[in-house]
């Protein structure tokens, strides 16, 4: 990944502008900078999860309590979420998900490919509006659009940030 990338900072500003108070995450290398920004901020609470589906329930609770949140994960986590997405669907909880893709572009680890290749379809089947983006200059406005879809719907949305942007992990090979 380009260490000078500013798109995570751009996303962070969007989250502040959208009055997001809770950021739930399972770490991904592609989200490293954004997670750091969230953890260092007093304007919102960053909550580390043991599995991505926890985040869907967590953000439902936050919304019941009057706070907006977003969920960060890598694409492998989408499969962990499928049944819990029913909670957001059935109750129409706003749920913006920011996904960094694996198994998509020059992937070194073949075990990432199956979930990465079905991520958009799985989300679509589950009723999530999917916003793929592979241009760093368009990430922030895509996140803003997805967040509006979620909070103004209310509904479910996911931004799939391409592995072309995140950079393919190579394990030094």
């Amino acid at each position: 990944m380009n260490t000078a990338a500013t798109w995570p900072d751009d996303i962070f500003r969007v989250l502040l502008d959208m009055d997001v108070k809770q950021v739930a995450y399972v770490p991904d290398a592609g989200h490293t900078r954004l997670i750091e920004l969230c953890r260092d901020s007093n304007a919102l609470t960053a909550v580390s999860l043991t599995t991505e589906e926890e985040g869907i329930a967590f953000l439902a609770g936050a919304w019941l309590g009057g706070q907006r949140g977003v969920l960060l994960m890598q694409s492998s986590g989408i499969g962990n979420c499928v049944n819990m997405l029913s909670l957001a669907r059935a109750c129409r909880f706003p749920l913006p998900i920011l996904v960094t893709m694996r198994g998509q572009w020059g992937e070194f680890n073949p075990w990432q490919v199956p979930m990465g290749q079905i991520s958009a379809d799985v989300l679509g089947l589950a009723g999530v509006v999917v916003y793929p983006v592979d241009d760093t200059a368009r990430i922030a406005d895509t996140v803003a659009a997805a967040a509006r879809t979620a909070f103004d719907g209310p509904g479910l949305s996911a931004v799939l940030i391409s592995q072309r942007v995140v950079g393919a992990k190579t394990f030094g090979k």
Binding site: G55, I56, F58, G61, G65, L87, C91, P154
Partner: protein
């Protein structure tokens, strides 16, 4: 180990939940799917009770999100042993956040009640309170009888948490007392009761 021992446990789940909710005051309640949701409804449907019809494994995490968003309000999660077993990782997540206003109550009948009363792991001795203690929750315990319940209720409503109390209740098949089923309605009535009319979407 007698895996059917919960057939004769003295505490009855409907009485336990009624006793807990009688003192709910301003508390916000998340009711886990299945029997705990029916128990909470039997004690009196309430706009500030959010009963789950699904989301198995998610009740405690909904409670965490609510507790962080509403730090001045007590948040009670009332759920079952099967539901809690499906979300054990959330005990670790909750321990890290450590909201003082959150109390998790498990009604542990050692059965999956909605699917035919099959045994859960707690019938084989898995100790949910010990797992919560191992995660680092400051107040944990297992309640077996009326005297224990009375002490537990004080902690559920007032002790600095997160509180985790596993209440051993009799395995029994009770008449269904169903809450409203529409999720949007349940969400909106909760938010309106808590946040005001403008919170309806």
């Amino acid at each position: 180990m007698d895996v059917t021992r919960s057939d004769t446990y003295p505490l009855r789940r409907r009485d336990v939940v009624e006793a807990i909710l009688a003192g709910r005051g301003e508390a916000l309640v998340i009711a886990g799917l299945g029997a705990p949701a029916w128990d909470c409804t039997a004690a009196g449907d309430h706009p500030l009770t959010f009963p789950l019809w699904g989301a198995m494994g998610g009740a405690a995490m909904i409670g965490l999100g609510l507790a962080l968003a509403q730090p001045s309000r007590r948040v009670l999660v009332i759920t079952g042993d099967g539901e809690m077993l499906m979300g054990l990782g959330s005990l670790a997540t909750i321990a890290v956040q450590a909201p003082e206003n959150l109390a998790i109550v498990v009604l542990d009948n050692e059965r999956y009640g909605e699917t035919g009363m099959q045994l859960t792991h707690t019938a084989h001795g898995i100790d949910l309170a010990a797992l919560a203690a191992a995660a680092g929750l400051p107040i944990t315990g297992t309640v077996h009888d009326q005297a224990g319940l009375e002490a537990a209720i004080a902690d559920i409503h007032g002790a600095p948490g997160p509180v985790f109390l596993n209440i051993k209740v009799r395995a029994e098949d009770l008449p269904l007392v169903l809450p409203p089923k529409d999720g949007v309605h349940l969400k909106d009535r909760f938010r309106i009761a808590l946040l005001g009319e403008e919170a309806a979407v």
